[in-house]
C-alpha cells in the first residue's frame, strides 16, 4: 500500500535483546520523561481568576441594543427569528402607545423577546439579519445554570444598560 505521508516507519519486530528485557532502563527513561514534565509550563488556566483570550471575532451572548437616548432599537420585525437556523428566538410584538416615545424608538416594539441559549448555535445570523442594529453578540458566554428554564434569556437579561441612567436605576 502506498503510504500517505513520508513519515511512516516500519515497526521494529526484532526479538528484544537482554538490555531491553531488563525493562529497568526503559522504566528509568520513562521516569526521566515524567520528571521533566513536572517542571513544564502548566496547560491549565486558573479559570475564574484568569480567562483564555477570545478571538476578536468571537460570537458570544446576545445583547439588545438601545440608541443614544436609551430607547430600545428593536422593532420586533422578526427577521432575526427567520434568520435563526436553530429557531432559538421567539418574540411578541406590541404597538407603542402615546407617551412611550422615550422608551421605544419606533412605533412597534418587542413586548417579549426570548432567546433560548441551549438552542442557539451562536452563528451570528441574527446579528447580520437585524436591519435596526438592535441585536449584537457580545464577548461573554452563557454562565451555567441548574435549570433549563434558566437558559431562556428574556428582555431583562438581554437589554443593555440605559446609557443615561445611573447603575442603581438600571438595576430596577
Amino acid at each position: 500500500m502506498q503510504s500517505l505521508t513520508n513519515r511512516a516507519t516500519p515497526v521494529d519486530r526484532r526479538p528484544m535483546n537482554l538490555w531491553e528485557k531488563l525493562y529497568l532502563p526503559a522504566i528509568f527513561k520513562g521516569m526521566a520523561i515524567t520528571l521533566g514534565h513536572i517542571f513544564k509550563k502548566k496547560a491549565t488556566v486558573n479559570y475564574p481568576e484568569e480567562t483564555r483570550p477570545f478571538s476578536p471575532v468571537f460570537r458570544g451572548l446576545h445583547i439588545l441594543n438601545r440608541d443614544e437616548e436609551g430607547r430600545e432599537r428593536c422593532t420586533a420585525c422578526g427577521l432575526c427569528a427567520v434568520a435563526c437556523p436553530a429557531e432559538a428566538i421567539t418574540m411578541e410584538a406590541a404597538e407603542r402607545l402615546p407617551g412611550e416615545e422615550h422608551l421605544y424608538r419606533e412605533e412597534k416594539y418587542a413586548a417579549r423577546y426570548e432567546i433560548n441559549m441551549l438552542r442557539c448555535i451562536f452563528c451570528g445570523f441574527c446579528e447580520e439579519a437585524c436591519p435596526k442594529q438592535a441585536v449584537y453578540m457580545s464577548e461573554t458566554f452563557a454562565p451555567s445554570n441548574y435549570q433549563r428554564q434558566g437558559f431562556i434569556y428574556g428582555k431583562d437579561d438581554l437589554l443593555i444598560a440605559h446609557p443615561q441612567k445611573s447603575i442603581t436605576e438600571n438595576k430596577k
Binding site: L24, I33, T34, H37, I38, K42, A43, T44
Partner: protein
C-alpha cells in the same frame, strides 16, 4: 523483691505512641494531597488549589466528604466481617510503625528517651508478620461483601501480596547476613558507623523496592484495585468511611514502606558525617529525625512518580515477575552475599 512501676517510662511511651500515630496519619493524609499534586504536575496540570492555599485543606474536604457519604452494608453481607475488614486493614497499617527507630536518643533532664516505641530484637520479623496480617483485611473485606467480583479481587490481591512477600523476605535475609541483627536500631547504628546498606545491597534494595510497591498495591502492581479495567477491587461494595479506611490504610502502608526503605538501606536517621559535626546529642537527634523524614518523603515521591509513569501489569506478567524473576534473583543475591560474608570471615 520490690515491684515498682516506672510511671515516667509509661508516660514517655504513651506520648511517643500518640506522636507516631499522629505523624503517620498526618503524613498519610497529606500523601493523598501530594499524590494528586504530583499526578497533576506530571500531566502538566495544576492539581488541587481551591481548598485553602495550594489546596492544603483538600485532604480535610475529602475526609469530610467520605464521612457524609451514605453508609451501605449489602443485605447478604456478613455484617461483623464486613466491618472487621477495613478495621483490620487500618490496624495492621498502624501497627508496623512500632518498631521503627524514628531517631536516636533524646536527653531530657537525667532521662535518656529512646525515640523508638519498642526496640525488639526481631524488629523486621515483626513488620513482616504484621504486613502478612494485612492480607486478612483484603481477604475478609472481599469475602464478607458477598459479591463474586469482590471475592475474585480479594483472591487476586491476596495471592499477589503473598507472592511478593517471598522475594521481599529473601532480599531482607541477604541484608541480615551483613547486619547480623534483626533489630532496626542495630541496623541503623551499623550504617551510622559504616556505609549505607544500599551500597552493599543494591540488588537487594531493588527487589525490596519492587516488592514494596506490590505489597502496598501501588501501580504498576495495583491489580487488587484496577479501577479502570476491572470494575474496582476487593472494596467494591464498600462506601463511606469504610472505603476511606481501605484507601487510607494504603497510604499509611506507603509511608511505613518508605520509612522502612530509608531505615534499612539509606541509613535511617543517620546522615553522612553526622558524628564529625561536633553537635551535642539532642541537636543531632533532631537533625537525624529531619534526615529520616527527608529520605521518607523522597521515597513517597518515588512511589507516586512510578505510579504516574508505568502502566499496570497484566496478572500473568505480575506472577511471572514475582515467581520467575524476583525469587531467583533474590536467591542469587542471597547466595553471593553469603559467599562474600564467608570469604571475609574465614578467607580461603
Amino acid at each position: 523483691m520490690e515491684f515498682t512501676i516506672d510511671w515516667y517510662f509509661l508516660i514517655e511511651k504513651l506520648l511517643l505512641i500518640s506522636a507516631v500515630l499522629g505523624v503517620s496519619l498526618a503524613v498519610a493524609m497529606y500523601s493523598t494531597w501530594g499524590e494528586r499534586k504530583v499526578a497533576a504536575w506530571i500531566q502538566d496540570r495544576r492539581g488541587p488549589n481551591r481548598a485553602g492555599i495550594f489546596g492544603l485543606l483538600q485532604p480535610l474536604a475529602d475526609g469530610g466528604k467520605l464521612f457524609f457519604k451514605e453508609e451501605i452494608i449489602p443485605s447478604h453481607a456478613n455484617r461483623f466481617l464486613f466491618v472487621l475488614g477495613p478495621s483490620l486493614a487500618m490496624l495492621t497499617a498502624c501497627l508496623t510503625s512500632a518498631v521503627i527507630p524514628w531517631g536516636d536518643t533524646l536527653t531530657i533532664g537525667d532521662r535518656i528517651v529512646s525515640l523508638q516505641i519498642a526496640d525488639i530484637n526481631i524488629g523486621v520479623l515483626w513488620i513482616m508478620a504484621v504486613v502478612g496480617m494485612g492480607v486478612y483485611g483484603i481477604m475478609i473485606g472481599g469475602w464478607a461483601s458477598n459479591n463474586k467480583f469482590s471475592l475474585l479481587a480479594a483472591c487476586r490481591g491476596a495471592s499477589q501480596v503473598i507472592s511478593y512477600e517471598l522475594p521481599m523476605g529473601l532480599a531482607l535475609i541477604a541484608l541480615f547476613m551483613l547486619s547480623g541483627s534483626l533489630s532496626l536500631k542495630d541496623i541503623v547504628e551499623q550504617q551510622r558507623e559504616g556505609v549505607w546498606y544500599i551500597l552493599l545491597q543494591p540488588i537487594g534494595f531493588l527487589i525490596f523496592l519492587i516488592c514494596a510497591f506490590a505489597e502496598c498495591n501501588r501501580t504498576p502492581f495495583d491489580l487488587p484495585e484496577a479501577e479502570n479495567e476491572l470494575n474496582g477491587g476487593y472494596h467494591l461494595e464498600y462506601s463511606s468511611m469504610k472505603l476511606g479506611f481501605y484507601l487510607f490504610a494504603e497510604y499509611i502502608n506507603m509511608f511505613i514502606s518508605s520509612v522502612l526503605m530509608a531505615t534499612l538501606y539509606f541509613g535511617g536517621y543517620a546522615f553522612p558525617y553526622m558524628d564529625s559535626l561536633g553537635l551535642d546529642g539532642n541537636t543531632l537527634t533532631i537533625l537525624g529525625i529531619v534526615a529520616l523524614f527527608l529520605k521518607t518523603f523522597f521515597f513517597i515521591f518515588v512511589f507516586m512518580w512510578v505510579r504516574w509513569t508505568i502502566p499496570r501489569f497484566r496478572y500473568d506478567q505480575l506472577m511471572k515477575l514475582g515467581w520467575k524473576i524476583l525469587i531467583p534473583l533474590a536467591l542469587l543475591n542471597m547466595l553471593i552475599t553469603g559467599a562474600v560474608v564467608l570469604f571475609r570471615q574465614y578467607g580461603i
